[in-house]
Symmetry: C2
Subunit: 700 residues, 2 copies
């Protein structure tokens, strides 16, 4: 294999590439979070863990983590992208702290920022940043999580007193799983149906005080504790019931809809559904952040498992004087290395996504978007994931909306795939560490349990993928967020075919058919990136075509529209998955292209090939079934994945070291005390001599 070996690149160069545009923020976070007060909490019970995280959160506010994403005019740093990256960095430590900070500064503070107006910003944002005003984000209800458009909490305007009356009309309408509600939050952003003058205007956000300064529930507010959870025990999730709670009119976050003193409703957006999804769209940073945080946890797990796989040995082999290191087994490589490759792909796609978010939703508003504070626009930075249109004078409203919708779809797709990847990869890492991986001291159990909820919070992954598919089907021209089955069916019936037909024009078709023609593939290089890209693009288009054709039937007379939609649901999810895979491959390819150092580039290029080929391998049934690949080439794909695993095996440690996880955070004996695990294959049962350095130390 000497002709296929790549040289080990400089770790610093690889890390620079991995760190990306916000590398400075990452490095600052590594320094700041190294302080002992941010250390991992060992084995605390729920109450103690909550208290510990609460204290850490106050420390975080002091080091300025909280200010990054807020406008400079209120004391923030106006760096949207930096705020996401900073959140991501917390994902290497205790995820309870990460989520708790996300609730306070992302969801709670972010909602005030995005949905409120100056009067709210001035009054609240400084105290939000300093944590003098702890809050929560009360959207989800027991009965409505995915379908938040139909939340049941009610806020009825009373012109007599110029107040809203907030009410939980029945048990399923209680606010549920609300981070911060059980213990710390004093003010809640409550999402409720706004009713005024006898008319409902859809869901709006209201500021509702839930606890007084002494920590007691406010009158009319009942608070419950969700109690134990699989993980995240440092986050105080709770339930809220409102019994005709009165709040001033001004507590409506009124950027997208307002009620005059006399009860007259007004909004810059006529259609209530469109208005609601516009509001939701401003909160997309939450999903982007979860995708990033999931990435950090995944990287930590991989770093632990790869280190363990280097030192733990099992079974003798002919011609080897020591037992075989776990990572030398193909099955072990198979369990970890394709996951490692996908982790890199997700990292690069995340970088693009954050760049897009940063440019489309600048913390200081569009006026200052061109050069937000603290961010360097390098020539070698990634493209935004969608055309952000910055600097284009002809930019019009429709195009801006379309970009926003594409951002939302991209965020939804990456969030879904990144969080499932986290669950699966951390699980694989746990199993790869055997019994040791089951022990809390080795961190994997907590990583697994803490990240588990990521697949369903900030949007259930399957629902999010449907949102991705809808965006593709409509060319981002329809309100993407509206996933009411009725709405989807009607939309598909009317418009889908046209939109899709436009996207998959004959010229494209011919072009891609030429690239992936089955006749040509026998002799082709399996690592040809152009071939991978063509294959992924062709697959997405084909799946999209087929789905559009199926959904069109919903519009036929006598069609059971729901049945047509429902029967195609697996096809819908499939479209979203293949789309995200294409996004990942493109992002990875782009990142490799930007690397100048040849060794780093050569290594990343192989990692990218492993990602591409292992993704193709996982979907071989499709490629075979659709004539995109011959059986012979399909077998070669599997062989190529095996080869790449073996070629990358010597670089596995370098690839995880590039994550730049501070040693303190890899606080797992199996990741640190490598020597303790070392042993050799000599069957020296008849000697009392120490066999390892660890033993020698112990004996000494």
């Amino acid at each position: 294999m000497s002709d296929t070996a790549v040289d080990q690149p400089e770790l610093s160069e690889l890390r620079r590439v991995f760190d990306g545009r916000w590398g400075r923020i990452r490095e600052e976070a590594r320094q700041a979070l190294r302080r002992p007060e941010f250390g991992l909490a060992a084995d605390l019970d729920r109450d103690a863990h909550r208290q510990h995280v609460w204290e850490q959160l106050q420390q975080l506010a002091k080091v300025g983590h909280s200010r990054l994403g807020f406008p400079t005019r209120y004391g923030g740093e106006g760096d949207t992208g930096g705020s996401v990256v900073s959140f991501e960095m917390l994902g290497y430590g205790d995820l309870s702290l990460m989520v708790k900070s996300g609730v306070q500064w992302g969801l709670f503070g972010g909602a005030i920022q995005a949905l409120g107006t100056d009067r709210h910003h001035e009054r609240y944002l400084p105290a939000v940043m300093s944590l003098d005003l702890p809050g929560c984000f009360a959207m989800t209800e027991t009965g409505h999580g995915s379908d938040v458009q139909h939340l049941r909490t009610i806020a009825t305007y009373d012109p007599e007193t110029r107040e809203f009356v907030v009410e939980t009309p029945h048990e399923a309408a209680r606010k549920d799983y609300i981070g911060g509600a059980a213990r710390d939050a004093r003010l809640a952003v409550v999402f409720a149906q706004l009713i005024t003058q006898g008319e409902s205007h859809g869901v709006h956000a209201f500021l509702v005080p839930i606890r007084d300064d002494a920590g007691n529930p406010c009158p009319g507010v009942r608070i419950g504790d969700c109690g134990g959870k699989a993980g995240l025990s440092g986050v105080d999730n709770g339930r809220l019931w409102f019994d005709r709670v009165r709040i001033p009119r001004e507590n409506l976050l009124n950027r997208y809809g307002d009620v005059a003193e006399d009860g007259t409703y007004s909004s810059p957006i006529e259609n209530s559904s469109r208005r609601f999804f516009t509001m939701l769209g401003t909160l997309v940073r939450g999903r982007v952040s979860v995708a990033g945080g999931a990435g950090s946890a995944t990287q930590t797990a991989l770093a632990i498992a790869v280190r363990y796989g280097e030192v733990r040995r099992q079974f003798a082999a002919p011609g080897r004087d020591r037992e075989v290191a776990l990572l030398d087994y193909l099955a072990h490589q198979r369990a970890l290395l394709p996951a490692l490759a996908k982790t890199y792909a997700l990292r690069f796609a995340q970088e693009e996504l954050v760049t897009t978010l940063h440019e489309l939703q600048p913390a200081d508003g569009l006026a200052t978007a061109a050069s937000p504070a603290g961010v360097q626009h390098g020539a070698d930075g990634p493209r935004p994931s969608v055309d952000t249109g910055s600097g284009d004078a002809r930019d019009d409203g429709e195009a801006a909306e379309r970009r926003q919708r594409e951002l939302e779809a991209r965020a939804a797709g990456l969030k879904a795939i990144a969080t499932w990847h986290a669950s699966a990869t951390i699980q694989a890492c746990r199993e790869a560490c055997g019994g040791a991986g089951y022990l809390t001291e080795n961190r994997l159990p907590q990583l697994r349990a803490d990240t588990d909820v990521f697949t369903t919070f900030e949007g259930d992954n399957r629902v999010l993928l449907q949102l991705v598919a809808k965006g593709l089907l409509t060319g981002y021209r329809d309100q993407v967020g509206d996933l009411d089955a009725l709405g989807m069916v009607r939309f598909f019936a009317d418009q889908v075919w046209e939109a899709v037909a436009e996207r998959t024009s004959a010229r494209n078709l011919l072009d891609r058919l030429r690239r992936v023609a089955p006749g040509r593939d026998e002799e082709g290089d399996l690592r040809d990136r152009e071939w991978h890209l063509a294959l992924f693009e062709d697959r997405e288009k084909h799946v999209l075509d087929g789905l559009a054709r199926r959904l069109r039937k919903a519009g036929e007379p006598d069609a059971d529209a729901f049945a047509v939609f429902n029967d195609a649901q697996d096809h819908v999810l499939r479209l979203a998955r293949v789309h995200v895979e294409q996004v990942l491959l493109e992002a990875f390819t782009g990142a490799v292209d930007r690397v100048e150092d040849p060794d780093t580039r050569a290594l990343l290029d192989r990692v990218c090939s492993l990602f591409a080929l292992s993704t193709i391998e996982a979907d071989l049934a499709w490629f075979l079934g659709h004539g995109r690949m011959t059986p012979g080439r399909a077998k070669r794909v599997t062989a190529a994945v095996n080869e790449l695993c073996q070629e990358l095996r010597p670089h596995a440690l370098t690839l995880v070291e590039a994550f730049g996880i501070p040693e303190d955070w890899l606080d797992a004996p199996i990741a640190q005390g490598a020597e303790e695990q070392r042993q050799d294959t000599m069957h020296a049962f008849d000697t009392g001599a120490p066999e390892t350095r660890a033993e020698a130390r112990r004996a000494g």
Copy 2:
């Protein structure tokens, strides 16, 4: 779909089929475990949970759970199969209690029973059963888990004092993850290399007291606590170090090897490797039990998720007056119903496996095997999973050994597939319940975390699958347990081809080719069970052929035998998987054939079809790539899985009710308070009227 609907069978009949041969034991367990002292522990910290489980274990000893698997002459009930089933029943409750009971009566007591002789049985078994003597099973070491043949703990015979000196020679040789060691165990079965007269005779089991009656460590024994784990917090896993601990010569469990007073070693089995794996083989009940326990936890999770999917509704749909129940969505059905079908398949395969174990390893010895106490041999019972040879007078030693090896391989394979299935299915159930599924009160987090370790304890699943493959390659003629890479490579090089060639004779080949010929499949019924069986059998044989061919290269001159073996490792795992899938399908088919009630039979037949077709769908790449299926038929497979999901959807609740899980054990609000979750699709924001019965209750 009216022509495809099946009638709802009687639940009692379905449950009878599901319960199987040891139905009486199951029913007794349901009654006994309903008592309040076996209730689930709510939210205890580690110390309290350990104490709680310890107290429950004492109650279990009193109700007689502990006696089932032990010989009648020492007060047991002589029912091997019953003991496994009884363990399995504990899997519906707190899995810490299940594992704790498995340690005491399965591993610890079972080792004394299987590896000891009368002197040990008389002295220890009564106190083991009554829990007067709590013990542990100290096999795994930090450095050796899968490769237990090469454990490093040493027991050296000292003829001067007629004692063994037990020693931990270095840190990696400490006993690790040992259930019971941290708190409760007083006596340990310690596996150590037996050395006498300067010669090592391989690993043997020794009884080593580790704590005195006051609970203090015995002299020379150091005990550590493994601390927190992902789950099973009620089990006190610990570490043991032995510093020249002296034990009487009689403490060697001497069934398969003994040391005379003067230090002379003797054994009925000459070859030390063969001896060791014979010993291990007697302990196979542990793996069978884990497979069963994993099944119970899986069933509990499915019961919770299916109930929730029936009542939780989300999103409106045209033509429906209420929001759509989650289980009506195809994506939701896809997430749960194929897993439910496989759960049934595993249940029936487990029943066969337990029957085989029961007949090959009777608790009272072979003399009384024909009619063990408390077991009814019904004419409609399952076949044992392998020919147990009972009643065959010509039965000889070689055949018996082969059957034993087949049992071991079958147990290894089912354990691996059942425990992975548990992890994946409980995870799917958690996600299917959204945020509610993340709450401890709904049990899914604990089920997920507790079962997680099953994939690596009692044998790492990937290692176990290699054992399955080795059995297939050798026709069970070699010592199956020996997975030392060196041994495997040599064996493959020498003998594999011959054994495989014999198994896949030309006649078989022609027969199966006729059945699965691609030309015939376009028009064939996709639910034809004969076709499924032929397809599965053909696939196993083809994978086996191919693997044997690859491994043969290891025997060529200049071959790097380890590389040949390692490069084929994914192929090895694949062979084992497809084999187990074939075993599952055959067991399921057999179970359906034995059902007389037509409605029950019709329903189970569909569930079996869903299992077969979803399994085929998951491996479509292979069937397409090997010309076993045309692309057109492959698409129809996916469509057929969707159809079966929709046909079985109305029966989902019945299928989980058939598990017979007592209501107390489904102690999850989302599974019990169905009405609490109910709500309708009326957008009645302008009315204060209660919409649900739950709300009416609350208001009243």
